[in-house]
């Protein structure tokens, strides 16, 4: 799907990561790592908000050979921060996802896409509410609707479960699995929560604190007590549930 090859990004002279190479192969890819490992920066580089050296390929094609618009047709990006208290209705926020083709007059296709996206996420009853006055979990869904109306091939998400309670976090992943099944959209998601990541990631990529890839693969194979020591500097137990999914229980900081 998306592969990056020797990607380097610096803020000023300090490198965030150097010669990073990752091959995202699965439908649901999760990137984890300690604070300041460059996870968010990596997403911004993938989307093109930040310019990194190196190559990023989509299905084997170098993204730098594509125009901005073509690139945005492939990828959508969901920032980390919550939607501000805006006086736009949920419907209008989702509609803005189609901004590159919107004119003064709203077409049938716009209406179809927006309503379809809201309905698919079961938030069509919120359509006429102001996006600023709905709950955090609903706001996240509205943001997702805003990306879906563009029919992207890949959705990049920066810590989408932040500020969501346990149930909403699980619901969010249900939604993601459903989008993958229904629309064949791939995801690259930056996460903090290891246990949630282990449960849902098909491919987990672990960045270490120095902006290098520590491991990338199935959570079962790479989430180990040794990894937690080396990458996070914590002592932790890793146990396995009945499906063989690793569950991390942190003990103390080393």
């Amino acid at each position: 799907m998306i592969s990056i090859d020797s990607l380097t990004f610096r803020y000023g002279t300090a490198p965030v990561f150097e010669n990073l190479s990752i091959d995202f192969k699965k439908n649901l890819n999760v990137v984890i790592g300690p604070n300041a490992a460059g996870k968010s920066t990596l997403l911004k580089c993938l989307f093109g908000l930040l310019k990194a050296q190196g190559t990023i390929c989509w299905e084997g094609n170098d993204l730098s050979s594509l125009s901005k618009d073509e690139r945005r047709n492939i990828m959508a990006y969901l920032p980390q921060e919550e939607m501000p208290a805006t006086y736009l209705t949920v419907f209008e926020v989702a509609l803005l996802g189609r901004i590159s083709s919107l004119s003064w007059h709203i077409t049938d296709r716009d209406l179809e896409k927006v309503y379809g996206a809201l309905k698919g996420l079961h938030i069509e009853t919120l359509a006429e509410r102001f996006a600023g006055e709905i709950s955090g979990g609903q706001k996240k869904l509205v943001s997702i609707a805003q990306t879906l109306v563009r029919d992207p091939k890949v959705i990049l998400m920066d810590e989408p479960t932040n500020s969501l309670d346990m149930q909403k976090q699980l619901e969010l992943f249900d939604v993601i699995h459903q989008i993958i099944a229904d629309k064949d959209i791939k995801f690259i998601i930056v996460m903090h929560d290891l246990n949630l990541s282990c449960r849902h990631a098909e491919q987990l990529t672990i960045l270490d604190g120095n902006g290098a890839v520590y491991a990338s693969g199935s959570p079962k194979d790479i989430v180990t007590e040794e990894m937690l020591r080396n990458v996070y500097g914590v002592e932790a137990n890793v146990i396995y549930d009945n499906k063989g999914i690793p569950v991390v229980s942190p003990i103390r900081s080393l």
């Binding site: 989307f47 980390q80 921060e81 209705t89 901004i99 209406l111 179809e112």
Partner: protein, 348 residues
Amino acid sequence: MDKTVQAGREIYINIVQKKITIITALIFVILFSLVINIFVGSAGLTLSETVAAIARQADDTSILVVWDIRMPVALSAVFIGAALGMAGCEMQTILRNPMASAYTLGLSSAASFGAALAIVLRFSVIPGVGNYMLIANSLLFTMLAAGVIIAFSKKSGADRGIIILFGIALNFLFGSLTTLIKYVANEVDLQSFVFWSFGSLTKMNWEKLAVTVFVTVLCFIIFARKAWKLTAMSLSDTNALSLGIDVNQVRRNTIFFVALLAATTVSFAGTIGFVGLVAPHLARMISGEDQRYFLPLSALIGALILSLASILCKILVPGTILPIGLITSIIGIPFFTALILQRKRSYM
């Protein structure tokens, strides 16, 4: 497939129908206020005499009063009000700050400073403009202030926090420079500057009105063409960027045209506070922030407020025309406060 379109259309119509109705209604109310405004005045014309004079079917004096004095003032109230409403709307949008208006970022202080130079020191930045000295000075300094802000934001890649901070600094700078001029002014000049700064439409004529209309319509078209981009500015910067919008560029362009509106209104009518703040606020409560409606509504509400204020300043003290800037603030602020309190309650 069709069902989805249908369901989407139903929601969409629900969202926009009310806005369209209110916009249409407002246009009629403004036209009505315009007629009242032309009718009201100290010359003591009756309604039928006024109508006759509008149709140029009356005696010369009545025609003169109506056509050369009242009509330009009444129409100016509408267009300057619209300009202030629009400028406030876009300033609040790009700075994502409900306290912003055309006068934020020191734009009006710059205009006042230019006016002070003209009124007190009779100094014209562009030589040989004669009677247009005040207008030329105001325009020049406002655009200079805008240019400095734009250049500054370009250089620092500034976000809105830094732009606001820099704007406040400019505001103080021009405010102090104006005070300096007032300090050296003689009594007569000082008085005429103070009177100018109250804000008044009485100096408006057809010529100035034409310029105001041109600038207002031009800026409306420019903003309207960017309606969706400006709408996206009410999301977060990152969100707008993720939609492919160059937020800094939108911000800079908008500041330029807001400055043009501010310069025009201030140089012709002095500082008329409050309209630019309250009109977008009311508009937002009605239409939300979809700029296709938010922008025209802000303009129309601004037009209506200033049109009503223009009527009030003629009838409050019979025989006198109070400065319109005083009316908008003194009457407007209690009204505005009540509105905010009421809304807060309805949200709780």
